[in-house]
């Protein structure tokens, strides 16, 4: 299945680009001029999201540097111990929604301390692989359009992350 999927992945983007260009030629649309128009939009969008990224990345980095995540971990580790969930996976669970690069670093830590084929590594890998960095996605997508009131978007994102973690714990226990 993995081979088929990677074949599709390799083929998909060239296919999309080719279909778009061939159809544009058929419709006699000036492809180059249109491209430049859209590309300008891309430039502005990237600049527009910068303030939102600064707000999210700086505040999350500060919270991490203060030891806030370790503090949450130490309180939750008793609960995890009771549920027979490896405590080593806890920092990964908490950081997953906050910072993508930090999560990958923490996953490497889990691998280094418990071994690459340990249960903690497998559980952490499932958690990292099955989710996205909610705060980052929020900053980029809502930053691009500049909405001020995000309503329930963050709550839903975080609740879905929690559902994902619980599912990861149950599914991993069954598989590994």
């Amino acid at each position: 299945m993995k081979e088929i999927l990677s074949a599709i992945s390799v083929m998909l983007l060239p296919l999309i680009v080719a279909v778009i260009l061939i159809y544009a030629a058929y419709k006699k649309v000036p492809a180059y001029d249109s491209f430049i128009d859209g590309a300008k939009e891309g430039l502005f969008v990237s600049i527009k999201i910068l303030p939102y990224l600064v707000a999210i990345i700086v505040s999350v980095s500060m919270f991490r540097a203060s030891g806030g995540i370790d503090l949450i971990s130490s309180h939750l580790s008793i609960v995890l111990h009771y549920l027979k969930i490896p405590v080593e996976s806890l920092p990964v669970m908490i950081t997953r929604s906050l910072s993508g690069s930090a999560t990958l670093g923490l996953l490497s830590d889990v691998i280094n301390t418990t071994g690459v084929d340990s249960y903690a590594t497998k559980l952490s890998s499932v958690i990292v692989g099955s989710s996205e960095t909610t705060f980052y996605v929020l900053a980029v997508y809502f930053g691009a359009i500049g909405v001020k009131k995000i309503r329930y978007a963050l709550i839903v994102g975080l609740l879905a992350d929690i559902v994902g973690i619980v599912a990861a714990i149950i599914v991993s226990r069954y598989f590994f």
Binding site: L5, G67, F142, L154
Partner: protein, 192 residues
């Protein structure tokens, strides 16, 4: 967002004082903004390229055709998108690129879709139900093969790095569906 922002920064000062890591907090405050600039700069090229390609498809009318095909399915989930909106195509491209692990293409498509939704929104300052739905689908991060994690496991010489694929697929599907269901639920109960 205001509460989250205040909480993260103020609690980092308080916790930093208690744990004696206040200098780390200050360093993070002064230096981590550089990372935000790097992320934003690294997005420029890929964003310009894909939004350029999407613009060609838009001008030729291809986006409209694709939107008509895909809208019957997507309008079940995105209830307040207008009929024939180009948002449908871009949402479909965003989700399929994400599923295949092509984040570099998925983000520009998703942002284009957000902009389409924003154009149609009556109030430009508030996230509409469709915007929240699209965001939830992206924060859930549905992906068929978790390539980055597998690459990391391979680099540590894991015996069987691909054994996480099926469990991860099950978990990411559960999270993805629950993000959709939760968005629908919240759109009913959350007013304002």
């Amino acid at each position: 967002m205001n509460i989250v922002f205040l909480f993260l920064i103020l609690s980092s000062f308080v916790i930093g004082l208690i744990t004696g890591k206040l200098d780390d907090v200050v360093n993070a405050m002064l230096y981590s903004s550089k990372k935000a600039v790097e992320v934003s700069i690294s997005l420029i090229g890929i964003m310009a390229f894909w939004l350029g390609i999407v613009k060609i498809a838009q001008k030729s009318g291809l986006i409209n055709i694709f939107s008509k095909i895909i809208s019957p399915i997507l309008s079940l989930i995105f209830k307040d998108i207008k009929k024939g909106s180009p948002a449908f195509s871009n949402i479909a491209l965003n989700i399929s690129a994400n599923a295949l692990g092509l984040q570099n293409a998925a983000t520009p498509f998703g942002i284009k879709a957000m902009k389409d939704l924003h154009k149609e929104a009556e109030n430009k300052d508030i996230a509409s139900d469709s915007m929240c739905m699209l965001l939830a689908m992206n924060t859930a991060g549905f992906q068929i093969v978790p390539a980055t994690v597998i690459a990391l496991l391979v680099s540590f010489n894991s015996k069987n790095p691909t054994e996480i694929i099926i469990p991860t697929l099950i978990v990411t599907s559960i999270a993805f569906v629950s993000a959709i269901v939760l968005s629908m639920l919240f759109s009913r109960i959350y007013k304002g």
